[in-house]
């Protein structure tokens, strides 16, 4: 993680810059595409347990997948 958007689902779940995502729900993360694959419209609103490494130690957080805000109205 090199950026966390303010007030985003990741920010609210406590994800920090420098965290290394290990799994998203039951899906292991090996590439960025593995994260994108879990962010389809079907998953909006779902709670997902994300495992990540921080400072060499494994941790977990629950993220409620949100819908990306749109511009304009």
């Amino acid at each position: 993680v090199v950026e966390v958007e303010p007030d985003s689902p990741a920010h609210k779940a406590g994800v920090m810059i420098g965290d290394l995502l290990l799994s998203f729900g039951s899906h292991p993360i090996a590439h960025v595409e593995d994260v994108h694959a879990q962010l389809g419209a079907d998953n909006i609103g779902k709670s997902v347990t994300v495992k990540f490494a921080r400072g060499g130690a494994a941790q977990e957080a629950t993220i409620v997948i949100g819908e990306r805000p749109r511009g304009g109205n």
């Binding site: 090199v2 950026e3 920090m16 810059i17 420098g18 921080r54 400072g55 060499g56």
Partner: protein, 291 residues
């Protein structure tokens, strides 16, 4: 004396441009420039992230390439192929460029091998939001696959290595920076990390702090031996906070064998940790400047 036409200049430059393919982890492809007739090829560091690199010449010949040096701060890599008599490009002095001069880019964008694009130079210098690095800025249309290829002047002399597009402009690493990179001796220190710049939050109301997120630590490197981990955020040395990617490169310039006292964050934006890193030189593959 006959003056070669533009088509001839473009063809010569095309023959000095290679297709670079990087396989394995971090696979990708881009372009490169034959810098010397005896097999020295220059490209972007981000083009050769994979463990195996192949170079294809304009005439279709393929070569396995060795990565002699990678500098992710300057986004340059020096490759070596076993070949001789290659059509090397000539380099121009990028400090003498002026806005309005014609610029030519050759590369392999989107699968089109040897594609040519032209435009004019907008300027040479830093660009807002991209730190203090100097760029050759031109309104040449680049696409993925142009990275690592040549940006040349109207005489076909290389003035930069095409690297990215920002604000509608093509940005190229200046040829003078390439020259400095290639002339850097092995005495430059090596840390053994891959980094990414980031803006780190601080306490509410305070301005964000610049940091370098460690994406990768090379096994056995000075950073590894000092127990730095992926995810650590380098924020400076004991003497000076980092505020640009180049600051880390600056601390590693020259004087290989010494102790570098780094400050970093780990899992807590407000707690600065310190580590003493015994710097060394990379072997057998050298990273002249770590990033």
């Amino acid at each position: 004396m006959a003056i070669p036409g533009f088509g001839e200049i473009a063809e010569q430059l095309r023959r000095s441009t290679v297709l670079v393919q990087s396989g394995g982890r971090g696979a990708g492809s881009g372009s490169g420039v034959i810098w010397s007739a005896d097999g020295l090829v220059v490209t972007n560091a981000h083009v050769v992230l994979g463990s195996r690199v192949k170079v294809q010449l304009w005439d279709g010949r393929d070569f396995d390439a060795a990565i002699v040096s990678r500098d992710t701060c300057r986004d340059l890599a020096e490759l070596r192929i076993s070949a001789a008599g290659l059509p090397a490009a000539a380099a121009a002095d990028s400090s003498k460029l002026r806005p309005g001069e014609l610029a030519i880019a050759i590369g392999n964008p989107l699968g089109f091998v040897g594609a040519l694009a032209t435009g004019v130079i907008h300027g040479v210098g830093p660009l807002g939001g991209l730190g203090r690095r100097t760029w050759v800025q031109a309104d040449v249309r680049l696409a993925p696959g142009n990275s690592g290829g040549p940006l040349a002047d109207a005489h076909g002399r290389v003035i930069g290595i095409n690297t990215m597009v920002a604000g509608g402009l093509a940005l190229a690493v200046p040829s003078n920076t390439v020259r400095d990179f290639l002339s850097a001796g092995p005495e430059n220190a090596w840390l053994g990390v891959t980094i990414h710049p980031a803006q780190i939050p601080r306490a509410a109301g305070s301005a964000k702090r610049f940091g370098l997120v460690v994406l990768e630590v090379e096994p056995g490197s000075p950073a590894d031996l000092a127990s730095l981990l992926p995810g650590d955020i380098l924020v400076g040395t004991e003497e000076k906070a980092f505020d640009a990617v180049e600051d880390l490169a600056g601390t590693l310039h020259g004087g290989a064998s010494r102790v570098l006292r780094l400050e970093f964050l780990r899992g807590d934006y407000s707690k600065i940790r310190r580590v003493a890193v015994q710097l060394g030189t990379a072997s057998p593959v050298r990273s002249s400047v770590a990033a």
